[in-house]
């Protein structure tokens, strides 16, 4: 009985995508879509019994009716620009590329174009990287592969340092819009580049962003990928961030979540080359009845690598946060150093955090640690600050900023870091 009901939900959900036109598709892209579509047939939406989705009920997400709607509206993007990053802004509205309001300043050794354009123009790169590592058993990632409209294609060429960071700006206009943004970011050997992708609603809500970000970091590359999630409080966001890291690479991913009814991030990093350094960080600030769920997985496949993970959150009202951080040290990954920490501050009695660090170690000569804390703000510290003349509000803000500072120091784009600092401050203002 329930199986039939689930089928119907899935069919209903998928029927939204039937009308799409993928005229820009190449053979390689079509093949990827077809494979994903086939896999979806054998997959179901996760339920509360699915361990990986245990704390996040997606019923409300998949039972909402959505539409796909290209928008040609005149849009003022200035409120979403990041200071100093205005020269490279790729704008996507409702998942469609808007060349007319995007700005790309050519940089030596950097390709930044719409994925739809790259499919033909950079067919070889596309064929060798696209959808090669995305988990085959996750229905949402497959849906994105099968039905994505567009996204950013960014390529940092060998031995090139991109001086200017690139901003991928995702806007949603209208109610109940579904988007499947798909970014592909490739850093070739000895390259260096920084990217920010941000998600916002212009108006309306109840939208669903089902994002996939694929990052390939080749030998000795330095890549930094930042995510800013601040969609409408009624909107849903599920992201799959898939990272493949090769020898001696340095990869950083930072995830900042400020808003959204349900936000789920599935971050998977495969550390596949020796001597790699991986840094994954996050800060979340759910309020009202929002839910933020960060599921991270780092696979240490080879020896002599180091990973540092720091996720912190401030949970207010009746909001819930979930942190599930898995570090898998495979048998050959000797001399791995893997550190993980998750710290939470609950601002209200009704706030919830489910924090679950998971270390699985199959090598015998490694250094790994994890720690998880849940607490309230230090009352004694608040009184101390007040006794020096600070208002209670300022005292709380100062303490929370200090709490966030250890996460923010991993952001290498100064102006973006300041923006996040401001957003944290504003997010805390009552």
């Amino acid at each position: 009985m329930s199986e039939i009901a689930t089928m119907n939900v899935k069919e209903q959900f998928l029927s939204t995508f039937g009308v799409q036109d993928f005229h820009f598709d190449t053979e390689a892209s079509k093949a990827a879509r077809n494979e994903a579509t086939k896999r979806i047939e054998g997959l179901e939406f996760p339920t509360s019994k699915t361990e990986y989705w245990k704390y996040t009920r997606i019923n409300r997400i998949v039972k909402t009716e959505y539409k796909i709607a290209e928008s040609t509206a005149t849009i003022d993007i200035t409120p979403f620009l990041i200071e100093g990053m205005e020269k490279n802004v790729m704008v996507f509205v409702n998942g469609f590329y808007r060349a007319d309001i995007s700005t790309i300043t050519s940089q030596e050794g950097v390709i930044a174009c719409a994925l739809s354009e790259a499919k033909e123009k950079h067919a070889e790169l596309f064929a060798s990287y696209f959808s090669k590592k995305v988990p085959v058993d996750e229905i949402f990632a497959n849906i994105n592969t099968a039905f994505h409209q567009d996204g950013a294609f960014i390529h940092f060429a060998e031995k090139q340092k991109a001086d200017q960071p690139i901003h991928i700006l995702n806007l949603v206009e209208g109610d109940q819009i579904i988007t499947n943004p798909r970014n592909l970011i490739i850093g070739e050997a000895f390259s260096e580049g920084k990217v920010v992708t941000s998600y916002h609603n212009l108006n309306g809500g109840k939208s669903f962003t089902n994002a996939v970000n694929e990052c390939f970091a080749a030998e000795n590359s330095y890549l930094e990928f930042n995510k800013l999630q601040e969609e409408d409080g009624t909107s849903f966001h599920i992201a799959t961030d898939q990272v493949q890291q090769e020898k001696s690479g340095n990869f950083t991913i930072n995830t900042f979540t400020f808003n959204g009814d349900i936000v789920r991030n599935n971050l998977n990093i495969a550390v596949a080359g020796e001597n790699g350094y991986t840094s994954l960080n996050g800060f979340y600030l759910p309020k009202e009845k929002q839910l933020v769920d960060n599921h991270t997985r780092v696979d240490h496949l080879v020896p002599h690598c180091e990973s540092h993970e720091l996720y912190r959150g401030v949970i207010d009202d009746k909001a819930t946060a979930v942190f599930n951080g898995k570090v898998m040290v495979h048998r050959d990954a000797q001399k791995t150093n893997a550190f993980q920490a998750n710290n939470n501050v609950l601002l209200s009695d009704d706030a919830t955090i489910n924090s679950k660090p998971e270390l699985e170690i199959y090598a015998d000569d490694v250094k790994c640690s994890h720690g998880s804390t849940i607490g309230q703000l230090d009352e004694e510290a608040i009184f101390y600050l007040r006794a020096r003349g600070l208002s209670e509000d300022s005292a709380i803000r100062l303490l929370l900023n200090a709490f966030a500072a250890d996460v923010l120091e991993h952001v290498g784009i100064e102006s973006f870091r300041q923006l996040i600092e401001e957003k944290i401050e504003n997010g805390l203002k009552k």
């Binding site: 009184f383 101390y384 007040r386 006794a387 003349g389 209670e392 100062l398």
Partner: protein, 252 residues
Amino acid sequence: MIKIENLHASIDGQPILKGINLEVKPGEVHAIMGPNGSGKSTLASVLAGREEYEITEGSVTFEGKDLLDLGAEDRAREGIFLAFQYPVEIPGVSNINFLKTAINEIRKYRGEEPMPAKDFLKLVKEKSALVELDNSLASRSVNEGFSGGEKKRNEIFQMAMLEPKLSILDETDSGLDIDALRIVANGVNKLKSADNASIVITHYQRLLDYIVPDFVHVLYNGKIIKSGPKELALELEEKGYDWLKKDQAIEA
């Protein structure tokens, strides 16, 4: 400057202060001594605005205002400073940053413009020298990893920065070696003027060799049972508190 009348305070229903009377005028230094558990730190906490205490009776007037009506931050903004017995460590909050916020919130309260950054830095340099506080300590996280002596010097440094009208030093001398004590006392003395006043709470007479009080009060069982000139401290050092306790018992 401050007038405490018949002040009664309790915590969790337990009376601690049982009728304190004390008046401090500008330019004066008052020492409050007394055995453990007599209510010294409670008095300091109540004056600074710690909310765990319940005021059951009495009044405190500061510069004509009802102090008990004000929150801790407004008391600080009115010019009261409490040097904590146990300064709190606040990881991640820089000393300088928080002092800048404090000074500007105090100035805002008084209807003044924020302090220009240049003046602020000048003030930091000048005042940290006063308590021989290393520049690097001034910019580190509040009290984090500071030694006991450094924490107390940091308290006096903050006091110097905020220029309060009334300073309450709550056992600032406890746990200090002679050198640190001298530095702290020296800082307090240099900040003394005809317009400000101090209440020095201490367990030991030793501090009063360095900070010379105008009046000494003995607090016992929630009441001031004896007041006198600075010589009283020496007498207490010699004879302890027992003779006063006996007098008190007879009176009762």
